[in-house]
C-alpha cells in the first residue's frame, strides 16, 4: 500500500483486551459430563449455520453472530523443540488474526468491496466443522447468560478460478454465549496445523 490516506478511526484499546488463552478453561473435559442435549444441538446448529453463511459469503450474517467483545485469534504456529519453554504459539507474537470486532468489520468491508478484484469471480469455500465438544463454564455472573467452551475441528477448503485449491486443518476452541435469547461467538482460538502456510494467503475465516 503506497498511497496517502487520512484515516479517522477511533482509538481502540487493543492491548488490554482479554486474550482467549485466559478465560477459557483448558482442563480436560469429563467423560460423561458436558452440556444438556438442547444446548448441544443449539450450539451445533450455530456452528453449522456459521459455516454456511461463510460458505455463502454472507459476511453481514456472520458479523451478527459475533459478540461485541469478541476476540478472534489465529496465531502463527512455530516449529520448536518440544521442551522449548516458549511454546509453539503465544500472545503478543505475529498472528494471522488477533482481532476485535472493529478489526473484523474492516476485513468484512474489504471482502464486500466491489473493488476486491481478487474475490471476483468469488472463491468457492467449504467450512467443514466436526468433532464438536461442548462444555459448560462455571461462570454464573448473570442470570440470563450462559457460556460454553466449545471445541471443534475446522477443515477449510478453498477453490478459485480454474484449479487453485487450498486445504487447511485447524483445531478451534470457542467461547459461545447465550444471552438475551441469542447465541453469540465470544472468543475463538484457531490452531492451524501448518507451519509454512501451504497457500498464497488466507482469504477466509476459520
Amino acid at each position: 500500500m503506497n498511497q496517502p490516506m487520512q484515516p479517522d478511526l477511533p482509538d481502540r484499546p487493543t492491548s488490554d483486551r482479554p486474550i482467549l488463552d485466559g478465560p477459557i478453561p483448558d482442563r480436560p473435559m469429563q467423560d460423561q459430563a458436558g452440556a444438556s442435549e438442547p444446548v448441544r444441538r443449539a450450539i451445533e446448529s450455530f456452528l453449522y449455520r456459521e459455516a454456511r453463511v461463510l460458505d455463502e459469503g454472507d459476511y453481514g450474517a456472520w458479523l451478527a453472530m459475533l459478540a461485541p467483545d469478541i476476540h478472534y485469534w489465529m496465531p502463527f504456529i512455530e516449529n520448536r523443540r518440544n521442551e522449548d519453554p516458549a511454546g509453539n504459539y503465544g500472545p503478543g507474537r505475529l498472528a494471522y488474526y488477533d482481532d476485535d470486532l472493529a478489526y473484523l468489520k474492516i476485513r468484512v468491508k474489504r471482502m464486500q468491496a466491489s473493488t476486491a478484484w481478487s474475490e471476483d469471480p468469488a472463491t468457492r469455500q467449504v467450512h467443514v466443522v466436526t468433532n464438536i465438544e461442548v462444555e459448560p463454564t462455571e461462570d454464573r455472573s448473570a442470570e440470563d447468560r450462559r457460556e460454553f467452551v466449545v471445541r471443534s475441528i475446522l477443515l477449510s477448503y478453498r477453490n478459485r478460478g480454474e484449479r487453485d485449491e487450498g486445504t487447511q486443518f485447524a483445531r478451534r476452541t470457542d467461547l459461545i454465549r447465550f444471552e438475551a435469547g441469542k447465541w453469540l461467538l465470544a472468543r475463538r482460538r484457531i490452531l492451524l496445523t501448518q507451519n509454512v502456510l501451504l497457500s498464497r494467503n488466507i482469504n477466509t475465516f476459520f
Binding site: M1, M5, P7, D84, R93, N195
Partner: protein, 442 residues
C-alpha cells in the same frame, strides 16, 4: 554429462541484456519461466550477494538461533558466546541430514538425528555417537577438520539487520549497501533505542517467480491505487487521492531501490488505521529531524517501498520486512516480520503488531490482493505464444533528475518504473559477471 564438468557458469559476456533490452524497457518473459536461467540465478546471484537472514533482536543471547534460507539453502543464524553471529548451512557433513528441525530456540550444541554427530554453536564438529570407531579410522585425524557444518563465508550486521554471504570475494556489506545505509537509517536509527522484530515470522507460498514480487516491491506505486483499491475503501470508506509526483521519487543504486515522497507527513503508516501510531510519529517528529535531518525525517514516514538487492523487501508504513525466497522458477516462499522501535511504548508496539497483521500479514487486507496477480503474471506467460510477447517496463523513461539532497540515482515521480528498470539492469550484470570485479559499480 554436464554434472561431470567442473563449471556450469555461462560464458563471460553472455548476452543477458538481450533479454531485457538496452534500457530494460522490454522484458523477455522467459527470464521468469526458464529452469536454466533459474539455476544460474542461484549461482550468480544467491551465492554471490549479501542476503538478509535475521534481525539481531531475534537472537539476543548466546545459543539463541533462528532458521532462515539463503536461496534454497536452509541456514541457522546462531548467536555465539562472544555475541558474534555465525550462519551455518543446516546440513550434516556426514550423510547430509538436516541438523536442526526447529525454526527458533536456544541450544548448547546441535546434534544430528541420524548418527548423533554433535556440533558447536559455531558448527565445529565436537564428536559423534560411537566416537571410538571414528578415532580408530585411518585418516580421521586429518579428515576431522573437514567435518564441521558448512557456513556462510562472512556475516555482518547493519544496525540490527544481519546479512550473510557465500562468496568470500564480494565487497563488504557497507560497500554493498552503499548509499542505502544513509536511507536505511531512517528506519533503523530514528531513535536511540534502535529497533527490534516482533516475535514470529509469517511463512507462506506463492506460485510465482521471485523477481515478480521483487520488482513490485522495488517501486510499483502504479499498482497501489488499483490492485489495492479495496483496502482503503474498507479502512476509510473511499479511495486515496493520487500522488501528483512533484515531490516523489524513485531512487536506486547497485540494484537496491527506494520509492518515496516528501510531502505526506505520515504517509503509509496511515494505512494501519491506528491513531496511536500516528500520534507517536507526530510526537517524535522533532527528535527525528534533529537526529537524521529534514529529508530523512520525511522519508521515514513517507509512502514508500524498498528493495535491498536481491530479495529483501520493506514496506515502511506497516514496518513489514519480507524476503522472497526462490523455490524454482515458478515458486517462492515468503518470510515476513514486523519491525518496531525498541523504545516505543507498549500500546504503540501493540498497534504496530496488529496493524502489520491486518495490512500485510497473509490474511491482511492489502496482502490478499497481491498474490493472485503475482501468480498469474507467471502462469499467463507460460503459453507457447504468450511467452514470445515482451513485457512493457517504460513508465517514467526520461524522468531522471539530479538532487543534491537525495543520494543515488534519482528519478522524479512515484508513478514510475525507473526502479524496476534498474533492478533488471543489475540482475543482467550479475548474471553475466564472472566475478565481482566484472560487476559494474552503479
Amino acid at each position: 554429462m554436464a554434472i561431470l564438468e567442473t563449471d556450469n557458469r555461462p560464458q563471460a559476456g553472455a548476452n543477458f541484456t538481450a533479454l531485457i533490452g538496452e534500457e530494460s524497457q522490454w522484458t523477455d518473459r522467459r527470464i521468469f519461466l526458464d529452469e536454466e536461467i533459474y539455476q544460474l540465478e542461484l549461482d550468480q546471484i544467491f551465492r554471490r550477494c549479501w542476503l538478509f537472514v535475521a534481525h539481531e533482536s531475534q537472537i539476543p543471547e548466546p545459543g539463541d538461533f533462528v532458521s532462515s534460507y539463503m536461496g534454497e539453502d536452509s541456514v541457522l543464524i546462531v548467536r555465539q558466546a562472544d555475541q558474534s553471529i555465525v550462519v551455518l548451512i543446516n546440513t550434516c557433513p556426514h550423510r547430509g541430514n538436516r541438523v536442526c528441525h526447529a525454526e527458533s530456540g536456544k541450544v548448547r550444541s546441535f546434534i544430528c538425528n541420524y548418527h548423533g554427530w554433535s556440533f558447536g554453536r559455531d558448527g565445529k564438529f565436537l564428536g559423534a555417537h560411537q566416537q571410538d570407531a571414528y578415532d580408530a579410522s585411518r585418516d580421521f585425524c586429518q579428515d576431522r577438520g573437514q567435518l564441521n557444518m558448512p557456513s556462510a563465508a562472512r556475516v555482518d550486521s547493519y544496525k540490527g539487520l544481519v546479512f550473510a554471504i557465500f562468496d568470500p570475494d564480494a565487497p563488504s556489506l557497507q560497500d554493498y549497501l552503499g548509499d542505502f545505509c544513509w536511507y536505511l537509517d531512517a528506519l533503523l536509527d530514528n531513535d536511540e533505542g534502535g529497533t527490534e522484530f516482533f516475535p514470529g515470522c509469517y511463512k507462506y507460498l506463492v506460485e510465482t517467480n521471485w523477481k515478480t514480487p521483487v520488482e513490485n516491491t522495488s517501486g510499483d506505486a502504479l499498482h497501489a491505487g488499483w490492485t489495492h483499491a479495496s483496502g482503503p475503501e474498507a479502512l476509510f470508506g473511499r479511495a486515496v487521492a493520487p500522488d501528483k509526483g512533484e515531490h516523489s521519487y524513485h531512487v536506486n543504486q547497485n540494484g537496491h531501490c527506494w520509492q518515496f515522497n516528501l510531502d505526506y507527513p505520515l504517509g503509509n503508516a496511515a494505512a494501519l488505521g491506528e491513531k496511536r501510531v500516528l500520534n507517536y510519529l507526530r510526537e517524535r517528529n522533532d527528535q527525528v529531524v534533529e537526529r537524521l535531518g529534514e529529508v530523512r525525517a520525511k522519508i521515514m514516514n513517507a509512502i514508500s517501498c524498498i528493495l535491498i538487492f536481491p530479495n529483501l523487501g520493506i514496506l515502511p508504513g506497516s514496518m513489514n520486512f519480507r524476503v522472497y525466497h526462490p523455490r524454482g522458477p515458478n515458486k517462492i516462499e515468503v518470510h515476513s516480520w514486523g519491525l518496531v522501535n525498541q523504545n516505543a511504548p507498549p500500546d504503540v508496539k501493540e498497534a504496530y503488531r496488529k496493524g502489520g497483521m491486518i495490512t500485510f500479514g497473509p490474511a491482511g487486507i492489502f496482502e490478499l490482493d497481491d498474490g493472485e496477480n503475482w501468480e498469474f503474471v507467471n502462469r499467463a506467460s507460460r503459453g507457447q505464444q504468450a511467452r514470445r510477447a515482451p513485457l512493457y517496463l517504460g513508465v517514467g523513461l526520461g524522468s531522471e533528475i539530479e538532487d543534491a539532497n537525495i543520494p543515488g540515482h534519482v528519478s522524479q515521480g512515484q508513478m514510475n518504473e525507473a526502479n524496476q528498470r534498474s533492478f533488471f539492469r543489475h540482475w543482467a550484470d550479475m548474471m553475466a559477471a564472472e566475478d565481482w570485479t566484472q560487476v559494474p559499480g552503479k
